[in-house]
């Protein structure tokens, strides 16, 4: 019987941990159910543009100072935000590329993804996502 309170505490802890998580969203025309972490990182760092849902994927990022951006950067790029900013400064001034556009709210990210057939973004786990497809991130 003692195991039930323990499981409840564990479930609550998992739920709390997920609260700060993110989910990856793509345009509803995209039929992919999942994306690998590496492919996701490449698309957001613009090291690759091609993926299953388009030759020229268009990533959209969250605001620099958001917890969501920090978590995404850590879990997907396996880098600090500082390192990713340095990467983009190098890309910009070497003329290679510019970072994905930044949106300051989940709603703006969703609007971008709905409006771009090859759009891909991420929003808070608890945000409703009508009109877009949520894809799982494979480790």
């Amino acid at each position: 019987m003692k195991i039930i309170p323990f499981l409840l505490v564990l479930l609550a802890a998992v739920a709390l941990a997920d609260e700060g998580g993110f989910k990856v969203v793509v345009n509803s025309r995209c039929e992919q159910a999942s994306i690998s972490r590496e492919d996701l990182s490449r698309l957001f760092l613009k090291k690759a543009a091609r993926w299953a849902c388009g030759d020229w994927m268009q990533a959209v990022d969250q605001a620099d100072d958001s917890d969501l951006r920090i978590r995404f950067t850590d879990e997907v790029h396996h880098k600090s935000l500082h390192a990713v900013k340095a990467y983009w400064l190098h890309q910009i001034f070497s003329g290679q590329d510019v970072p994905p556009p930044v949106k300051s709210t989940d709603e703006e990210v969703l609007a971008f993804v709905r409006g771009h057939a090859a759009g891909i973004g991420y929003v808070s786990k608890g945000t409703p996502t009508p009109g877009v497809r949520v894809v799982d991130v494979r480790p």
Binding site: A63, S94, G95
Partner: protein, 360 residues
């Protein structure tokens, strides 16, 4: 439509969902040097007047097509430069084609040589990136770049270019061959090498942060100049280790004399706290002019340097560096011929540079 990010928050000015973006960088420094030798921003008696500011514009016209340009204002000499301006078409992830004035993809810092927030020291190593004429400012012509291999463990990217290469340089060889004259100087000029072909390979290894670069170029129509070298970098959030070595062979424009130059350095920097960074660098540059047996001060540069930086943000830093220099290839009096003729040229220079570098 228009989003101008508040300071310290985000990068740049974005228009139309990132299709048009404006970025910039700049720097200012105070520098002081000893023994009447001028070294970069450091002058005898001190100089507050060194500074520059640049703006870069990227316009994504189509999914595959981009136009980009960067202009720079230099307070030192009052000049305005067009650093690069090109159009790019992306055939695939493996082939990006550029035409126009493109950056010189060379070594670790060749294509970002003026952006101070991308390196620990205020100054890049003089032998590789200074007025030695090894790294170019820009290539007038065409370039292709892309990813050859992009796996989770290894990645291999390439750059290849062809055209006219602009090299900032001071050339002591003709002076050594023809003799010193009263009032003679070593003024940096932009040397232009035509019909140059070159490239760079960048290999990122399974060890996170460890990468190797192989860079080189040569003139195709004659044997005037050829450069080849290797770069190694290990960069983490706290630590940045860099080492580069280049060999250049060059034939003097006026005398036709053959010269070889060796340029290399080892550099390490470490974040002591999240904002305080310290770094050390040892640099060696040595030129050999075949058939020349005279004094060598204008052919040598050995340097030990240390820096202490305070980063307010990734795009805003204060840097204080000290440079102990032996040799006069890059540190010498303005009237260098007079000093040599009078026997007053001092090989040793101590330079201190304090400045800020920023980018957005």
């Amino acid at each position: 439509m228009l989003a101008l990010a508040p300071a310290g928050k985000a990068l740049a000015v974005e228009l139309a969902d990132g299709k048009l973006s404006l970025n910039g960088f700049g720097q200012w420094a105070y520098g002081n040097s000893s023994n009447k030798n001028v070294y970069e921003a450091a002058t005898p008696g001190g100089d507050f007047g060194s500074g520059s500011f640049a703006l870069a514009l990227h316009a994504q016209m189509l999914d595959r097509g981009t136009i980009a340009a960067q202009g720079r204002l230099n307070r030192d000499d009052g000049t305005a430069n067009l650093d690069w301006a090109f159009a790019e078409w992306r055939f695939s992830d493996a082939i990006h084609f550029r035409v126009g004035i493109v950056q010189h993809p060379f070594g670790i810092s060749g294509d970002v040589r003026d952006v101070g927030t991308l390196r620990p020291f205020f100054l890049l190593p003089s032998g590789v990136y200074g007025t030695s004429g090894i790294t170019g400012e820009a290539v007038d012509g065409g370039a292709i770049s892309g990813a050859i291999l992009d796996e989770a463990s290894w990645s291999l990217r390439y750059d290849a270019y062809f055209g006219s290469l602009h090299l900032p340089s001071t050339d002591p060889y003709d002076k050594l061959e023809t003799g010193f004259r009263p009032g003679g100087t070593l003024v940096p000029v932009e040397d232009e090498l035509d019909y140059v072909a070159g490239g760079r390979l960048i290999a990122a290894t399974p060890v996170a942060g460890l990468s190797f670069r192989l860079s080189g170029y040569a003139t195709l129509r004659d044997t005037r100049a050829a450069v080849m070298g290797l770069s190694v970098q290990y960069a983490t959030d706290q630590l940045d280790l860099r080492a580069e070595y280049f060999l250049k062979s060059e034939r003097g424009q006026e005398t036709g004399a053959l010269a070889y130059e060796h340029a290399g350095y080892v550099e390490g920097s470490l974040y002591l706290t999240s904002q305080v960074q310290a770094g050390l660098r040892a640099e060696l540059y040595r030129a050999h002019l075949l058939g020349y047996g005279g004094p060598r001060p204008l052919l040598d540069h050995r340097e030990l340097a240390a820096t202490l930086n305070y980063w307010f943000a990734p795009g805003f830093v204060l840097k204080l560096s000290g440079h102990l220099i032996d040799g006069n290839r890059f540190a010498h009096p303005v009237a260098v011929d007079d000093a040599i003729l009078a026997g007053t040229l001092e090989r040793r220079t101590l330079a201190v540079i304090f400045g800020t570098q920023f980018s957005f």
